[in-house]
Each structure stands twice: as C-alpha cells, then as structure tokens.
Symmetry: C2
Subunit: 440 residues, 2 copies
C-alpha cells in the first residue's frame, strides 16, 4: 500500500512557463514520489497557466490554460506558484490569488522587494502563506536558514554574492585578465547576461535580493529605496591585479549590517581577503555569509540561478506550504521570520556615515614628495595606511600608480580626504576608490 494514496491531496497551480517554471514542473513530475514521501501529501499539479508552451517541459499530462488568471480563480487550486516575473501583472495575480484564499509560492524578487509588505498584509488578513525561497540565491536555502535555522541569533551582518552575472564577469577578469566589456559580451552570448545588462551589472537585481535578506535578518520592512547600489562597470583589470597583489579579491557584494548608528544596506564592488571562503566563490555561483552573535560566521553556497536549482527552492516551498496548509496561521513560520508586530522601522545609516576600509588607486607624478603629501592629507583626516604598492614609472611615462589600503573610516571623511588629494598638482587623475571588508 502506498500510504500517500490515503494522504490528503494538495493541488498546485503554476503561473508562467519560463525557465524556472520548466524546472519546477520537471522536478514535481520526476520526484513526485519523493516529494509526497517528504510532505505527507499527494502534491499534484492541477493546472498550468502559460501564454505559450516551453519545449523544455512536457505538459501533456497536465491541464494547461492560456489565461493565467484561470489558475488563481480555479477553486481546486490550493497553492498558486507565481513564476511570470515582473511587478505589474504578477502583483495583480498574487493579490487576486490571496483574495481567493490561495497560498502563494513565488520566485519573484522584484515583486517581494517592492510590494512584499502589501502582499504580506493581504495574506495575513486571509490567513494564507507567502513563501519566496527562490527569490534569493536560486537553489540555496538561505531564506529558510536565516528565518529558522539562525532564529536564535542577533544577526550582526550578512554579505552575499547574490548575482551570478557580475560574479562570472569578475571571475573571468581575474582568471584571464580580460576587460569588463569583453567578458560582458561573452556573458550575453552565453545567456548569463541580458541584452540590457544594467539590471545585473549596476546591482539592481542584487539590491532586490539584499533588501529581502535584510528584512529577514533584522526584522525591518522591505524598502528597496534604502539600498545604495554601485555597479562593476568601472572595475578595471588593473584594480583586480593590484587587489590580488595585496592578497584580496574583488567581489560584487550585497552587504547588510547593523551598526551602532543604524542599519546599512549597500551593493558594491568590495575587496575581501583571499583567505575568506566567500572570496573563492567563482563563476556564476552564489554564496551568502551570515554573521550571528551566537553562531559566528556561517556560509551558504550553491547555484544562484537556472531552471532546476531555482525550481528546487520553489518545490521546497511547496512542500513547506503543503505541510502547514491546515495549520492555525498563528503557528506558521511568519513571512519575514518575525511576528508581524515586531517588523518595525529601524534607523537607517546613510551611505556617507557607514564605516569601511578603502582601496585607493591614484596616478602620481613621478617626482619626490608626492607620497608624503598624500600621507599627510590622510593622516590629518585620521586615516591610516595599512598597506601600499608603489611602482616605478614605466619607460616614457611621467606618472606612477600609487595604491593604498586604509583602515576603517567614515565614508564622508574619506570622500573629503580624496577631494583634497585630487586637488594636489602632483595627482593627475581622479582617485579610484573601492571599499574593503574583512568579513571576520
């Protein structure tokens, strides 16, 4: 006897049939027996809504509708899986589904980052669940780990490689000495980057994910506007190489930190010591480093995108939701890991008030006294030099590169000091400034 035959059936409706949906449907089909054994339910796809077919998935055994709203209005559907992406139709779809009493599983980071609070409020009023593990870092169960696994901890900070495209580009720049534009072009050809790469390379996608992680870590409302973003378009192979020489790697990190002055949220290129495990996360892979007061540093690594890795998180959420479908909503895991009444605004630390160490690269005229002038400006600003590279001028060149690593200092102090350095006659170009984090 298959005990699942006597188990309750949980009906899943899938909206969208793109990459993630194809992975989701294929996993639910291939691993059905295993999923039923884990969930204790008969987890069945009862309807798929998609404007067009996807050759990567065989839907012949399933009921397919061209109107995705059929799925959320289907009385048989228990769980709506939103995989259409975007924030307009997707929002309508999710809110309609909630109004109809459906539980929601979504992979849509932009939707959660921009409209999560509204969606959670609507879901709470209807007593339904909203699960979004797939929205951050693909197949890595990072949301569950922060929300539940680390529930004992006061999270001090987290730092993540949460965009595979920028990590691929930076890895290629380092491994092969290739220029940014060159690697970007290849990433586009490989399908790792979109035709318009802004979303990835300027850190907007990472900001969506960071704001979700920060809400889970600190119990703050979702507010994507509070994330400072700086892309990787200005990172040169020169800086990648000097970082290497200093024992560092440049990674595009999303960082959320609770410091004395408030909560800082920023996505930017960052030098990190090559000895840190996260410095060795290469290619399109993702990883998130989370520092809790009790547990210390923990790291979670895996594929950050792709049909089946992301589908793995979608289906993991479906199993979670299936298990608690009949539970008293008050005893379910709350959407953001904290009971709603504890999710409160906390002081936000503006970017010019954050403290970080810096990598500075400047072009100095090749004559005596320049270093001394630069050092004096830094010293007068309370900034100390932790490491330095000074090279001889190349044949026929009148400037030399001067590279410094500083101690931790408030960003506005550093900006003021750089402005003074740039006004020196002996400094011939804008100073390149990249943040440095020890991640200890």
């Amino acid at each position: 006897m298959n005990p699942v035959n006597s188990a309750r059936t949980v009906n899943v409706g899938i909206c969208g049939l793109g990459t993630v949906a194809s992975g989701t449907v294929n996993i639910l089909t291939r691993n059905k027996k295993l999923i039923d054994a884990r969930s204790g339910c008969n987890v069945s796809i009862v309807q798929i809504g998609a404007r067009r077919d996807n050759p990567k998935v065989d839907t012949s055994g399933y009921s397919v509708t061209r109107d995705i709203f059929d799925v959320v209005n289907n009385p048989a559907v228990d769980i709506v899986v939103e995989l259409i992406g975007g924030t307009t139709v997707a929002k309508d779809l999710v809110l309609t589904a909630i109004a109809n009493g459906k539980h929601i599983v979504t992979a849509n980071k932009a939707l959660i980052a921009h409209h999560g609070d509204e969606i959670f409020a609507a879901a709470k009023a209807k007593g339904v669940t909203v699960a979004f593990e797939a929205a951050v870092a693909g197949g890595i169960p990072i949301i569950k780990s922060i929300r539940e696994g680390l529930a004992a901890n006061n999270i001090e900070w987290l730092a993540g490689i949460i965009n595979g495209t920028t990590n691929f580009i930076l890895t290629e720049m380092r491994d092969k000495g290739r220029a940014f534009e060159d690697v970007l072009k290849e990433a586009q050809e490989l399908g790792y980057a979109e035709a318009d790469p802004t979303f990835d390379v300027e850190g907007i996608d990472a900001a969506h994910k960071l704001v979700i992680l920060a809400s889970l870590a600190f119990g703050i409302p979702l507010d994507v506007k509070k994330v400072f973003t700086e892309g990787i378009t200005k990172i040169s192979t020169e800086d990648v190489n000097y970082a290497e020489e200093l024992g560092y790697r440049i990674k595009h990190l999303g960082i959320a930190r609770r410091s004395a002055g408030g909560i800082e949220l920023h996505v930017n290129p960052t030098l990190i010591p090559e000895k840190r495990l996260i410095a060795n996360v290469d290619g399109v892979m993702n990883a998130v480093l989370v520092k809790g007061d009790a547990v210390g540093p923990t790291l979670y690594y895996g594929a950050g995108a792709g049909a089946e890795p992301t589908g793995s998180s979608v289906v993991g959420d479906i199993v979670d939701v299936a298990r608690t479908l009949l539970a008293d909503p008050a005893h379910r895991v709350p959407y953001l890991g904290f009971q709603d009444e504890f999710v409160t605004e906390q002081k936000h630390l503006p970017m010019d008030e954050i403290e970080t160490a810096y990598y500075l690269r400047m072009s100095a005229l090749d004559k005596p006294g320049v270093l001394s002038k630069v050092a004096t400006i830094l010293s007068d600003s309370g900034i100390s030099i932790e490491a330095m590279i000074q090279k001889e001028a190349k044949e026929g060149e009148s400037t030399v590169p001067l590279i410094l690593l500083t101690n931790r200092v408030q960003e506005k102090k550093m900006i003021a000091a750089i402005s003074k350095i740039e006004s020196l006659d002996s400094i011939s170009a804008p100073v390149v400034r990249i943040r440095v984090e020890s991640l200890k």
Copy 2:
C-alpha cells in the same frame, strides 16, 4: 504593548549544564526578546537540572535542581532540552520525557545515531517532536537544510568535514608541515581534542553524524554499524605534501552516496581537488557539501562545535518546536524529513564494492623497470594512471617514492592490485593508499 505578553508561554527545561548548555542558557537569556519575536511565544526556562554549576553561566534567575529527572517529571515543562551527552542516562531521560508527553531538543549525536529509531517511535506514539539540529556540525543548520530546504531533491551524495579536531590537525599538518602526533598534542592542550582522542581521530564521532545525515538524505533507518571508518593517524606530512603537489588537499570526510549498487557510508581521509570550496575549509570549522539532482552542489559552512554555535542550533530547534507545539503531529516536519512509513532499509554497498579513485604511494628500488611492472599490474586490473610523481633518489638512499593517482575503480580490485604490487621484489614497503574524490 509588548505583544509577547499576550502570547502563550512555552516552558523549557534544560538537562545538563556543560559547554553546550551554558551556550544555550546564555543565548536564551541574552536574546529572549528576539527569540520571542521570532517564535511568537514567551519562551522561558522553567527549570535547569545539573549535578553541578558552571561558572560560564549565571543561573541565579532560574530554578536549578540537582536531579535531572526532576526536569522531565516537571508538569510545567513543555520542551526538554537534553544536553547531558552519552547514551545510557540520556536515553532513559529522553524516553521518560517522551512518556511524560514532553517535546525533545537534543545535541546528542551518539544518542540519535544509536537509538534514534527507538526514540522516534516512542515520540510518534506520544505525538511529540524530537529535534536534533545541534547533533551535526554545531551551528550550521544542515539538518534543516537537507530535511526541508532541499526537500525537492533526490540527494545523490553528501560529503562533510564534520569533525573539527581532525580538520584542525590536517590543516596544521599542511600549513606548518607538522607531524600528526605533534599537532594532536597541541589540540589536546587547546581543548580541541580529548585526552583519549580515539573518538575523534578514528572517525567514530564523524560516523555518528554521517549516519544522521544519510538518514535525512536517503530516508533510511539510522544504523551506525553500516558506516566504515578510517582515521587520520596514518596520514603523514609526506602524503599531505605530495597531495598538494598534485593539486589536492587531504580532508577527513564523511561520505554518503547513493549509487547503482546501493548506499555507501564511510568516513576516511580523502584527497579532494584544492579548487573545491570544501578543500579550503580550515582549522576547526565544519562544512557539508550536498549534491541534489535538481539543485546541484550546495555547501553549508560554519563552526562545528563550541558553546554558542551549538547553542544556536539548540535554540533554533526550540523556536521550531515552540511554533508547532499545538500543531496536529501529522502536519509537523517528520523527524528524518520523510513520513515514517517511507523510512525503509535500502541496499547497503559494502566497502569493497564502492568505486573511488586512489592516491598510491610506494617505495620503489631505484632501478630501471619498476614503474613498468607497477603500470602493467594496474593496467591488467583495468586501472589507469591519471597522474604521477616520481622523484630521484636522495643522496645515499636506495629507494625512490613513486606516487600515482588512478581513475575510479572498485575497491576490491584496487586491493587485489596493491597486493600484487607489494609482492614485487622492487617494492620495498607496504603501499600507502588514500581515496580520492572529485566532489563534482
């Protein structure tokens, strides 16, 4: 208004007051507001049972009893936290607590590995939960990740650095060229290793943890006798260095794999490519690499021991249990991640039938034709050589080291081939054999 004041109270009874208990009590005290905000309950320590005090924890605000059985018989206690260790009194204590209708949180890997199935059966009959995140890899939420986060996946294999002592010793041997005995002595002085180090260095502790992970991954009953263990006592700095030269690191891994012939379970020193993230997990840190059919490889890293890291997992479990205290037991997450009726014996692959690649080191007489004889024996056994190091004889020595990496081959074939190699006149000592895994 603090909403928690109106929340239901969940009373925790702590048994034991050693290292992990001190961390647990300190976290529950320090982070109480946060834990209540996450759990939606007023999580209170109602009693601590300990034969003696621990200077690392202030219990003055709590009711302390010298008889730990007072705790499990205390009608006010909802959750019993078993932190006394061992498998005799601890088993009595846990079974008595279950008989009294208490939910269980434990950090006791030996207890779960040896008596888990019996404990789970008793708990199921009484409708209570048994949670044991802290039993494997300290603060890393690896049990939750496999049991819930990766629930969509057919787990193919997992490989873990799940004993900090052996990882510390191997790291020091590599970093500083120190001998095993020398580092072991230091580890004992630092408190990383016990006076009797057998439990750690022979892989018994890791076997307890591996059998728990394997049950979660594959849905098999807990059976510690099925784990083959090989310690690190015979690993020499010579082998560490040759591994390095070949681009590998030696790690003491617990490996569980589902292959065509059955399930293999073994703890042994293993060469792994230095490019793998897990090869760079150093010192006392732990990490588990899990390969799912949908998600691909994922890795979980953090502190594998210590008061607060392990306490982090204990308290995470308390939050989980507090949330589902009133839930219908049928809808809780099952103990081993699978509904009990699906936890079934599966074919076990005996050690001599597993397939793995090998590192072989032999002492060959320094004369022509030796390599050819060795290569012929291997080739006749269907074994191919993937890489080789042959050094010149040192001044005044008559033998040369010959180091080979082979392809994947059944263990019994390799053992037979080695026996033939050892019978050659030109091979002067037993062949050193270490397993090699690519972990891709």
